[in-house]
Symmetry: D3
Subunit: 317 residues, 6 copies
């Protein structure tokens, strides 16, 4: 399969070069927008989240005034730690054809990057965009632990006949050969999961950490679930954080995680483990407040992972 060029974004992430021709991708770190996932029958059109990759990029100068300036979250400046080969690959575009083809192209893009051992940052889109990324994990040739930040379990085998929609990414992960384990943090309230899905997740061995437990026990309980030396894939649903901090989501759910809890957790993971990739999904730009705080927070989460991964004690070094 020859990969088609991706769509150029309205503006680049931070000040990274934009390269949309897969043949020219040579990167140690790369960011790619994935606007769409497998649609549910009652909602065939792209949803609001499809506009998030460009919305997040457009707030670049607000979540990072200048990439050479000092970052007090990470105790360094991004320019001095980031590998020089960092690229914005634009957005995986769906211009017709079946979802199967689209998903295959996403999987192809990410496989190519992982074969280069690049760290990959994916911007959703809804949570279904994680699924074709999981399918690319085989390119790494090593087992991977999935760490999810989310209010919801996302373990539905299917909804309305669709198996790769936003209710299913963690179930899909459980059947992905390269996935060696998973930790799910921030669970709360009632979503699409029924008792059967909870039982299935437990039977699989997923480490379920409710938001309340995280509020009580903090990040060590989470860190303990990831085997030492194991590569990690992060999947962050914006509704895992509290809607007071990331209001622009479709399913605001009280009691969520706080940025000041999540950022240090992500940095700790990125220092102890090689974070092979991450996605940030479910930002719905139409619901963002006038000051764009959801997009700013999304950018800050990503920058915390990047700086921690590539700093002197980082897992990507």
């Amino acid at each position: 399969m020859t990969l088609q060029p991706t769509a150029v974004p309205v503006r680049q992430f931070l000040d990274w070069p934009v390269v949309t021709n897969p043949a020219e991708w040579e990167a140690d770190v790369a960011i790619l927008g994935i606007p769409r996932s497998e649609p549910y029958p009652r909602d065939p059109q792209p949803n609001d989240q499809a506009r998030a990759p460009d919305a997040i990029r457009s707030h670049s100068s607000r979540f990072c005034y200048a990439s050479g300036n000092w970052d007090f979250d990470t105790g360094t400046d991004l320019t001095s730690v980031l590998p020089s080969r960092h690229l914005d690959l634009g957005n995986a575009a769906w211009s017709g054809g079946s979802y199967d083809e689209y998903a295959a192209s996403v999987t192809g893009y990410v496989r190519q990057l992982w074969r280069q051992r690049a760290q990959v940052v994916l911007l959703g889109g809804d949570h279904g965009v994680t699924i074709p990324v999981l399918d690319a994990l085989d390119a790494l040739g090593e087992p991977v632990h999935v760490l999810q930040i989310d209010a919801h379990l996302d373990w539905r085998e299917e909804v309305d006949g669709v198996r790769r929609g936003y209710s299913s990414p963690l179930r899909w992960a459980s059947t992905t050969p390269a996935v060696a384990g998973m930790t799910q943090v921030g669970l709360r309230a009632v979503g699409s999961a029924r008792r059967g899905e909870v039982d299935a997740a437990r039977a699989y061995g997923s480490h379920l950490v409710t938001a309340e437990r995280f509020h009580l026990e903090g990040r060590d309980a989470v860190l303990a679930t990831i085997p030492e030396g194991r590569a990690v894939y992060l999947t962050i649903d914006a509704d895992g954080l509290d809607p007071a901090e990331m209001p622009a989501v479709m399913a605001p759910t009280p009691g969520g995680l706080r940025f000041h809890q999540v950022a240090p957790l992500l940095r700790a993971v990125a220092r102890r483990h090689r974070v092979v990739g991450m996605d940030l999904v479910e930002v719905a730009p139409s619901f963002d407040a006038a000051n764009g705080v959801t997009c700013v927070t999304a950018g800050r989460l990503i920058l915390n992972v990047l700086a921690a991964s590539w700093g002197p004690d980082g897992g990507c070094w």
Copy 2:
């Protein structure tokens, strides 16, 4: 006094049957909207909070995707714990006549339910709606402890000659024979209370827990104020929570309680004690953000009480 039918809501709470004829009420759990309280002279018309009962109900599927699905806050699913006789009784309607008559009808509705030993959930309306509910406590035939979540003391004997308005419910409780004690949690900033009201509350023996103290000491300090075995009535003013989490209130006050603190407190109370009823008041729908987070949070607070009350170790079992 023969009770008139209540007003049918625009939609039901969750998927509960709507029954507006008091003669047909046979319930173990029942929800009733009370849009109005005794008006202050300068504000004779129904205030914004009068529209909250229908606004909260209309977000049912957002605070509970499906009542048979798993609830990570409570570790169960609502369908399996809730008694089968759960009713939405609609809204107590005021279509003319004096407030005295209206209040008497509300008291009558709740008395009838408490005589059936139903757990009653009331949706305000402003905080004055609690007063005719307190008047029905005599139907229980046992002493009750009142636990309030609120930024304000609400101990005014009267304001502008009105004794049953939103500044007075806890003062009213102090003179209600069935009330055996009270705990007031979340107090902060400056409201209608003067030094005299604070002195009166202390003289009565009300346990005053400021928001700051709750941030420091947590729920155990609150739980310790409620005698073992004592029935409890919960009254939750939305402004007791922080305005970052419940923004749609008339008096946003910083430093408030957080959902992740309040939900476990409510569940603990509902497990250790029989919660005979609760009200959720002072949501002002016109100020709710685009994503309706205040109504969603209101619904989540109620569901935490319900599931904890009726679960295997619940106080209503």
Copy 3:
């Protein structure tokens, strides 16, 4: 230099008398609006923050229902602790002429007040308004410690040739003879500071407390940095608090301080030390939510300092 009268505000702060003739100022506590600072070349017009002094005053009855009523944050009522000579001095007005002249007039106003040993509350404007206030510190005749609440370091020597803009107040403080030390709390993310500015601040001996460290260690770590008996000047940038609590700022930055952390810190400082003055800057009213929560929170921060300063165990007694 003879000082011109200040501009009368649209309404007074709380119920304080308004006196705009400097010749008539006799005060123990005084509040003054400073709408403007030295403008950056690309933004010569007054920015949104210039409207904050009047916007904050206009919410007076929402952050303090009545000044004689009980304040649960401070455990007293303001009327009984505040000295009787409290004035609202209006707004320092810039009606043409150079910034140098305007800044000199601001310095003159504050010097006059400090010579009377008044406690001064300044309402910005952006963070550049702190600079002419620092220039007045010499009137106190004693060394002063500067305590800043802010997401940003504000240590730029200049930006676009401007040395007294909103990126420079703490650098300016470091060269102010009367400033004996400084503590900067709430630092996070990436602002205008580069590694060089961080090094300069450390070399000077500024105590840098990131937001994350404050979340972990609390207020004692901050209090320990201020020498016993030392007078204190507080400078509070609204973006030091979390944007979930003070959304109306130009640079919303996740992970910020919470009101329930900051208010007790401010009270502790105001009890242990004489707080000679404070400023509250960078509120951008156009971005405040319908319910004005940023202005309400600004008012609450100020009232916490006032009541703690002048209460029986206060530092201003």
Copy 4:
């Protein structure tokens, strides 16, 4: 069929007495809310328009400062022209059961009123609420002309199997025996109508007046389509007016009618003809601006019809 009481509204329309017991209805003018119509399968829950009856009522004092004051639109005051028997009948409530039963109750209510020769004002709800009202026209015993203000044709025989939804009211009217003709004003853009529906409307003899034609030719062209002496039923979809004037609709469509065109048209009709009833549908309160201009405009449209109908030269005299 014995009619059940209706639901009491949160507040009454203007200062009209509320009577919800059909047995007590004796009226010359009556207003009734109809929150719901036959739901389409993909949208079983009440839609946003279901909250419009109470939202419109709650703006009563804004569209009519006092009912005895002078109305410059109509050149009189409402109190002096309105018959003394004017009632607010509350809202037709659906508390379970089938839509057939609900529709039958609505038809029953309106039939009863028309048997009393009352003028009936109905507040929707979406445009499907007109259908059970049309079914009551037989009670009048005379032919009726239907005058519609709407951007859309509403002539679908069915959509997704539903025949009484918001896309079908004018088709339904065409098969209602009592309907002797119809005029449809404000048509523009693309809705659910296909060429076949347009042909059917023309074949029936409906007078189709596009918005553009009305902008050019004004109200006389419309008035000429209604036979002299013929009773009229008005059905006003808020999206018939321009979204600049009534923004809170689900399908904002540019090029719409203006209030200053529609109000005189409605008054002219109400003077020349007996307006037996009217409905005002499709206001979606969640989309109304901060100042509630859509609800205010809805109220003004109704008051223009009422005053013109009952004034000395009115058609209801």
Copy 5:
């Protein structure tokens, strides 16, 4: 009476010099903010309209990109027609004391300006601010015609005992000796006027032009009511225009006048007559949309009057 200096505005109107010392006022055109009028007892604090003078000024560069640029409304550029002595006098400030004193100072300011034969532009505030301006008309020594643009009659003798509030300015004008006649344009809907007030206005000889009549007959009907050669005072209530065009008002009323109707009317008046002054009142900035269209439109109305008054065929020449 010696006039106190006025309050300096946050920024100047356009690029006009700010002079707040009445002793230094030498002007051919002058603009002055009047934030407040006589308060009604139930609303003692400054209302939202009090912030309009500074809000309108702050949009200067949006309603006039540069004052030397071409203005297509007026067919000229403002710089070339405006007299060189144009001043922004700041805001008439009320810092305590009685309303009588405040009103007297406003009257004093305007009298002083009219003695210099300056054209005066007043920015309200609510419509009560017109009253002390009317009291200054005696300084002109010639009869004046008052032309009002407004949805409301404003002819109440008093409301709640207050005679100089926003419901009374045109009644006040009718008893002002210098007022020789009046025309009231844009009347519609129901305000505070009763039949008695309408009769009084007619008995006085006020030319009442409803909004509907103006839509039909246009500006000539209005122009014909003003005697040739008569000086004119304009009073423009923002709610005279349609709420689609000036949404930020307290009483949005459909059917209002359009800018493209009002601007040419104002220019025609300013060419045929000497417009001695004008006020623009009742803008409520908190309700203005994100893009500030109400303030922009207010500025455009003023600029149309200024350019037409001072252009070669203008009435002020």
Copy 6:
């Protein structure tokens, strides 16, 4: 110059096939997004208008429920008149490199289409995007009349040294050899044009039609300025329409054109002349109201041109 593929949009315009490879473009009608123009030095990043192409497309089903349904504006259905070869070409993407290269690629895309005699619809971006399109007019081999709808003249030779920014497109047109004349409709208020630019436009022979004149004289005056048989290029700045109808613009200006005036004008032009292309620029999606009325109106304007151009009496037949 070999053209690179364009960027795939988030969703297609209406239901048109998306083809981003220029080698595969074979079209009679084609739509292309052009997010960016030559940036002014003070604003190097993409502005809000850059997101308009995808925002407008995303409202497709709201401005056209289904493309086979009846369109009352145009009296037909789009499917039956549109040529079968209609394509969405995605967005011209700028992923680095100079603006010269980017502009050249845009010119190349449009030239290729015009060589195929396709009708081209361009979605801006700000008004500078028109400039590289004008450079492609030579491909038509015939003179073209430019018809502009705009509040502003756009005749600046340069601003801050930039000659192809949003203040210059009509000046640029005046020096484009293929442009044979121009008509500018909707002019009003004060923009970047000085007297010199107005003189230059008149000297060139541009037909300047102010908004006021258009309100008075209507479309015939405009139509008369376009020579019979002459091909036409339409350039529509959203601020040409009134901000009440298209609020989401950077420079809202009262007194603008109304949709019900502009749509028939556009249809008349498209019937009498061959409209070779059109652009729709300056929509700023962040300022669009909750119901997206600006994007809906933009879509309706385009559909009116398309249906009139390709209908039986259309200029493209």
